[in-house]
Subunit: 218 residues, 2 copies
């Protein structure tokens, strides 16, 4: 696969933690992020659909302070304004969010991810200034209620054949299926539940990383 | 009062139309804006709390195309990202939205408005890089369900005494009370219902303008 257009290497996209404040529970988003990154999450996408802008800025700023010294990119879901305010490393947009061309124009050096759910969307993305595609949902998931039907591993393979952009698979991915997802052509995995709801997010991230990185042949 | 810090004169702030898509009804936001501006609305604040980002961008872009040739500023409520994407003239933020310092840093030339509901917030705004204060609610209003108790005309007068920033009054303002609100020290009026729900927004704007502008003494 081609390397992302931004300064981040493909290795930084291997294991995305996508946050869900409700699933993180009383321990809080920041604590879960800190643990997951300690265990091996390579990037963090802050996703807040309900939070007021000012609190969103505060949470994003706290994560940026936590992640920047570790060299782990912080990606903001949808909200370019939050990314600008805290100097985040990237923005992840869906098909109904800010068009990637606008994001690239306003943030020339950002890591830009785009969610795709179909062959038509993957093909259209070839003309889009994005660094990676978030392919979803690979499996059915309770984390996102407005998701399309699951692609399955065959669906993922079919999309893989259509693009040279890095593909990050998301949707129902856990320790049991991570290896198969990577084998089907994903360049990295994005998880919500498997880290945010894990009793030990550091251990869970460490275990997932065993499947996301090319393993040395014996 | 002092003139706004941005390039817009105080006269551009006399009569704000604050949009409410539901109140505009089937005729649509764009048609109501066009009519209200034809009647004399001097600026438009696009307020969308539910709309997906991409549709929000599209609506803002349509309004910008409509208003720019008329020299009427377009202000975006809360969403700096939308303002950036469509090159809007300003951003209006509430106490829970993006801090004005961040807005000013990212958009140095924007017209920035800040909502205030109390003496403490008016005093704090003296240190804030804003162009005007939106004082609310002057009267109780069904347009904003999370509003503080009504200030009344006496409350407005009390806040007027605390600041030299332009004060734009909002909340339950209509033709019957507009003159009193201006007399209590407002520099301009912002209305939702009195224009968005008006059968004839052009006529309503024209009538309101008779109260917002200094009248020639006979």
């Amino acid at each position: 696969m081609t390397e992302p257009a931004s300064r981040w290497p493909l290795a930084a996209l291997r294991l995305h933690l996508v946050t869900d404040a409700a699933l993180c529970g009383p321990r809080g988003v920041e604590a879960v992020v800190a643990a997951a990154v300690r265990g091996g999450a390579t990037c963090v996408q802050l996703r807040e659909k309900q939070l007021e802008t000012r609190l969103f800025v505060e949470r994003a700023r706290a994560l940026k302070a936590l992640l920047a010294p570790l060299g782990v990119p912080l990606i903001i879901n949808d909200r370019l304004d939050i990314a600008l305010a805290v100097n985040a490393d990237g923005v992840h947009v869906g098909q109904s969010d800010m068009p990637p061309d606008e994001v690239r124009r306003i943030l020339p050096h950002a890591l830009i991810g785009l969610s795709v759910e179909s062959a038509a969307q993957v093909r259209a993305a070839a003309l889009s200034p994005v660094d990676y595609l978030g392919v979803s949902p690979v499996f059915s998931t309770p984390s996102k209620t407005d998701a399309a039907p699951a692609l399955g591993l065959d669906g993922l393979r079919a999309l893989r054949a259509l693009t040279r952009l890095p593909l990050i698979a998301i949707g129902g991915i856990d320790l049991d299926n991570a290896a198969q997802v990577m084998a089907a052509g994903a360049d990295g995995l994005a998880v919500v539940r498997a880290l945010c709801a894990a009793p030990d997010p550091a251990a869970a991230a460490q275990a997932l990383r065993r499947h996301t990185d090319p393993q040395p042949t014996p």
